[in-house]
């Protein structure tokens, strides 16, 4: 029973990791940009959720209606204003710029919100749970998992069924040819980042409801996002969900054996997958 519980809770945790990772996976897929500031952008979204829900006195999940467009606009501006200038044949400049962005975000948040731990108050949903035999499934983790599946399904649909998705794929395949066909590369990249940060907004608000956060915790969340992307295989959005779930279950099973092995077990499984399948479980991209 303990093992079933560990696997079920691990799967639900995987939903959270997939949410952390979806934005990363999207922007890496479209423009080969490794965003070191992703974890801090998640924390930024959590703080935006906090400000919106306290100022307007609304439920944090309702606040998403504002946080998502704000983050998307921020993403578009960030990409067109800063990150587009760093993209080129060299991977290093965007890496360094996003690293700097991460430092600026952390210290900016510290300056505005102080180091106090904050939490989004979501009321009864935080502690309510569904009893299935001896298993207790929290509504919040279930909702997070459902959101994560829905978002990934939505991204997948957008990628393969819409004109925007076609533009993303075309630009990702050959930037110069896409440009010749009348796609404005800078604009397409801006839209990709906007979409990525919209997903990040959801991840941030869920993180804020689930646990308390302060300006410095972003970096710790980044590594799980990266691992989920790599386990799932680069460029495959469903793979990212699978990667998140694999990571969540391995951590949970590791913790069942010994709590000290929780994070370690995730890293070990990640390394094992890299060793056996260097391109991840379901790669779509060379």
């Amino acid at each position: 029973m303990d093992w079933i519980n560990a696997i079920v809770q691990g799967t639900l945790l995987g939903g959270l990791y997939a949410l952390f990772a979806a934005g990363l996976s999207l922007i890496f897929g479209v423009m080969r940009l490794v965003n070191i500031a992703h974890g801090d952008l998640i924390v930024l979204a959590a703080y935006l959720g906090l400000s919106v829900s306290t100022v307007l006195g609304i439920h944090p999940l309702v606040a998403l209606a504002l946080v998502v467009p704000i983050m998307a606009a921020l993403g578009y501006g960030l990409q067109r204003g800063i990150l587009n200038r760093t993209l080129g044949d060299d991977l290093l400049p965007p890496l360094l710029v996003t690293f700097g962005l991460s430092v600026i975000l952390q210290n900016g948040l510290l300056e505005i919100y102080s180091a106090d731990p904050q939490k989004l108050q979501a009321g009864a949903i935080e502690t309510a749970s569904l009893q299935l035999g001896s298993l207790a499934l929290g509504y919040l983790p279930l909702l997070m998992f459902a959101c994560s599946v829905a978002i990934i399904a939505g991204l997948q649909w957008m990628f393969y069924r819409t004109a925007l998705g076609r533009a993303f794929r075309a630009t990702s395949d050959r930037q110069d040819v896409a440009q010749l066909m009348g796609l404005n590369r800078a604009h397409v990249f801006g839209l990709a980042m906007a979409l990525a940060l919209a997903v990040t907004a959801v991840a941030g608000v869920f993180l804020g409801i689930r646990t308390s956060f302060d300006p410095s915790i972003g970096g710790g969340r980044l590594i799980f996002g990266f691992e989920a992307v790599i386990i799932g295989g680069l460029g495959n959005i469903w793979g990212t969900l699978a990667g998140g779930v694999v990571l969540g279950i391995s951590q949970s099973i590791g913790a069942e054996i010994n709590p000290g092995w929780q994070v370690l077990a995730g890293h070990v499984v990640f390394l094992a997958i890299i060793a056996l399948r260097p391109r991840g479980l379901f790669p779509r991209m060379d």
């Binding site: 809770q9 102080s114 180091a115 646990t211 915790i217 949970s252 709590p259």
Partner: protein, 423 residues
């Protein structure tokens, strides 16, 4: 291009000035009217530990005003300059700024506070460089044993005042004992300096808890910033734990506490070190913050007063609330006391030019501070002295939470302000 080809004359004047500079600079201090004593201060102003240092500005401002007229030593007035540096909550950075203070700013005394991550690296730098050092705000076991201290020898230049794990265990047992709950406890200890010390089988919680008749379920050390505690919760449920204790950081506690509710685990007492110290953390937990308990190192109700300003504990705490609009926190008293000790040492030292004499003065301290008596002639080991510790519970009062002192058997001089209530 001009600068790349200096003329011979430029080169000579520049070199001469550089060679002469140290001689001239050294002379200035000897001829100064009022000699200056520099105090280096390292504290985590930013980063995850910043809550410990949030009162720094308030405390340092009051101290600087007090020091403005200088301090009398052997009939001579010394100006005191405090140089404060940020450890960014990072032990490597703490060591770096401590070395900077010692080697570049040439401080005469170095002080530090707030958790082993700040106190230990600063003390180690001071010990190596033979600079007198006073620290606080970190239980003495992680300070002493964490630095490889040998109780027979101790350290030469570094001194520490705070309480120890034996005090925290005593205060917790005192608090739990009066409620009559089943003696079945669950332990949550992270894999960090504090968690390993608290959970240590020999020197930590397990042994005294067993001696007092408690069974402790300790699933093992978890990594800080864990996202999932369902396995620990399952283990506690299986063992029928009514008490949860340990030492956690606030985000981990929030994750644990929400998951405990989701999975139907309802302990009667939750006493956690570190995570539940600050009112801001309790506020962030909302309704579920009510009734959590923690150790109390200092509170406005402590019957002590400052040896520097004469202010009582209540006046110091209320002054902070008035100045910043924020609720009082426990480190305020200790940060103030740290500078009380410094002022006392500066006044008493035989020869302020000699670091050995300053160390002797520190060792001979016997001072009634705002956090209780500081006297290194009494202590569990050399270089360490202990301040009183009690236990308290956060109870809702109107729309705010107040930390009520509910257990004081070991320190009857600190009055009780409430009675323990079960969750």
């Amino acid at each position: 291009m001009k600068y790349l080809n200096p003329s011979r004359r430029h080169f000579m004047t520049g070199t001469a000035a550089m060679l002469a500079a140290p001689a001239i600079l050294r002379a200035t201090r000897a001829y100064a009217q009022t000699p200056v004593l520099r105090v280096g201060h390292v504290s985590p102003r930013t980063g995850p530990l910043a809550g410990f240092a949030e009162a720094d500005d308030y405390v340092l401002q009051a101290i600087s005003e007090r020091f403005a007229g200088g301090i009398q030593n052997n009939g001579k007035t010394w100006a005191v300059e405090i140089i404060s540096k940020d450890s960014q909550s990072n032990p490597n950075r703490a060591a770096e700024v401590a070395a900077d203070l010692i080697l570049r700013d040439e401080v005469d005394i170095i002080v530090a506070a707030s958790t082993p991550d700040t106190v230990n690296p600063v003390s180690d730098q001071a010990e190596i460089n033979e600079v007198p050092c006073v620290t606080t705000d970190c239980p003495w076991q992680p300070y002493f044993f964490g630095r490889g201290g040998n109780p027979a020898q101790g350290f030469t230049n570094t001194y520490h005042f705070f309480w120890g794990l034996e005090d925290v265990i005593g205060a917790f047992l005192d608090m739990w004992g009066q409620t009559g709950v089943a003696k079945i406890a669950g332990g949550l200890f992270p894999n960090d300096a504090d968690g390993n010390a608290w959970g240590d089988a020999e020197n930590g919680l397990p042994k005294p808890l067993a001696a007092a008749g408690y069974s402790l379920t300790d699933p093992g050390r978890y990594q800080p910033l864990s996202d999932d505690f369902s396995n620990q919760i399952a283990a506690f449920k299986a063992a029928g734990c009514e008490i949860v204790t340990g030492n956690m950081i606030p985000p981990d506690f929030a994750t644990f506490w929400a998951q405990a509710a989701q999975q139907g685990f309802t302990p009667k007492i939750v006493t956690i070190g570190k995570a539940l110290l600050f009112p801001s953390v309790i506020e962030s937990l909302g309704e579920r913050g009510n009734g959590l308990s923690s150790e109390v190192w200092w509170s406005p109700n402590h019957p002590f007063a400052s040896s520097l300003t004469g202010a009582s504990s209540r006046e110091l705490a209320e002054g902070y609330t008035a100045a910043t609009g924020r609720p009082w926190t426990q480190p305020i008293g200790f940060k103030h006391a740290l500078f009380e000790v410094v002022a006392d040492v500066i006044a008493r030292a035989q020869d302020l030019e000699d670091s050995g004499a300053i160390v002797e003065a520190i060792a001979a301290t016997s001072l009634a501070t705002i956090v209780g008596p500081v006297d290194w002639s009494v202590g569990p080991v050399k270089n360490v002295t202990k301040t009183p510790l009690v236990a308290g519970q956060w109870q809702r009062e109107g729309d705010k939470f107040d930390l009520k002192i509910v257990a004081n058997t070991a320190q009857p001089s600190i009055p009780l302000t409430g009675t323990m209530q079960l969750l």
